[in-house]
Amino acid sequence: MGDSQTQSEQPFVGGRPSPWRLFWIWTVIGAQSFGGGSATLYLIRRVAVERHAWLSDDDFTRYWGICQIAPGINILGLVILIGWRVAGVPGALLSLSGLLLPSAAITVALTSIYASIREAPVVRAAIAGVVPATVGLGLLLAFTMVRPLLNSARREGRASTLVAVVLLLVSTIVAALARTPVLAILWGAGALSALAQWQLVPRQRWPR
């Protein structure tokens, strides 16, 4: 990010693909991006920035920044913004459905196959092994979610770091002990962090 935020967005110079072709490009990305979010992000960058030159590297980073605060899956937001840039609202819709349909279809197919053999003794035994592994991978995921947030807090100084660590610990403890609505915990932590950030980060570091 850095300075790129302050520059204005580059005009669209790439070729505009036909609707069908646009849909197909995203379908291929959706079907082949095994390995979660970072694999998908990598593929999108390669196709949209390098192969088709729909947008510059800086704009890609800027879009990704916007998507961090959009609701839902960040990658879907990115796909929508790129599709919108290429061909307006129809482009956004085509790109989103192109990315989602094959991967959602494969997910449903895997689930229905699994659901039909779920009660077989061998499968039950296999799942008894998979469940703790999922917990392990989930803990790793939680760690990778927290690390960049704590790192950016650390770059801002000791006060920001303290706020971040306290929020992390308190939200974990509240979730463990009290029967609190999860939404209250999530948005409460968000609101407190917003307030702290507003007080702690100097205004001049806010690029327009």
Binding site: G30, S33, F34, G36, G37, C67, Q68, I69, P71, G72, I73, N74, I75, L76, L81, L96, L99, A104, T107, V108, S112, Y114, A115, R124, A125, I127, G129, V130, V131, P132, A133, T134, V135, G136, L137, G138, L140, L141, F143, M145, V146, L167, L168, S171, T172, A175, A176, I185, L186, A189, G190, S193, A194, A196, Q197, W198, V201, R203, W206, R208
Partner: protein, 170 residues
């Protein structure tokens, strides 16, 4: 039908009020478990299926939607996770471009992310409560962390190994 409508609303609300593909997990978990519509085992299973299927992280809810409401449940969940980013980004794109770097917004996103991770850990301990805190399970958990932390090993391999261990031991 009202069952599917309620599922749609739960999924939509969770996606609207969170960010990232796992930010909705704590909300969905609380909503579905309190109704008795899903179990901790089904959560773990859909997370595992989500890990091995292609596409962005976050499609695990489609798998969960299938467990709760069959094919229709998966379909309403798909729509429910596609709508929030679409509506919000298309409707308020200009606002987003202008405000997304404001310290308070950045702070909000950070606080939300930290709390999601914290609650997520508690959800995971709940799944572990169901599975049992015995030494075999703990060793598998630890093994998955170690293998997963080495970025060379694909998630699919970790899960297949865990399944083999499960078949051998249970």
């Amino acid at each position: 039908m009202s069952h599917h409508l309620a599922l749609f609303w739960i999924m939509l609300r969770a996606a609207l009020l969170s960010t990232t593909g796992t930010g909705n997990l704590p909300i969905v978990h609380q909503d579905l478990l309190s109704r008795g519509w899903a179990t901790d085992r089904q959560f773990a299973e859909s997370l595992a299926i989500g890990q091995i299927s292609p596409g962005p992280t976050g499609l695990w809810v489609i798998s969960l939607g299938y467990f709760v409401g069959g094919l229709r449940g998966a379909a309403v969940t798909l729509v429910a996770i596609a709508l929030p980013p679409l509506l919000v980004l298309v409707l308020v794109q200009g606002l987003y471009r202008r405000w997304s770097y404001h310290p308070a917004i950045q702070g909000f996103v950070r606080g939300l992310g930290l709390a999601v991770a914290g609650v997520f850990v508690i959800v995971l301990t709940g799944i572990m409560n169901t599975a049992g805190w015995n030494s075999t399970n703990l060793i598998i958990t630890l093994g998955a962390i170690v293998l997963g932390a080495m970025r060379r090993v694909p998630v699919l391999v970790v899960l297949v190994l865990a399944a083999i261990v499960g078949i051998a031991l249970f």
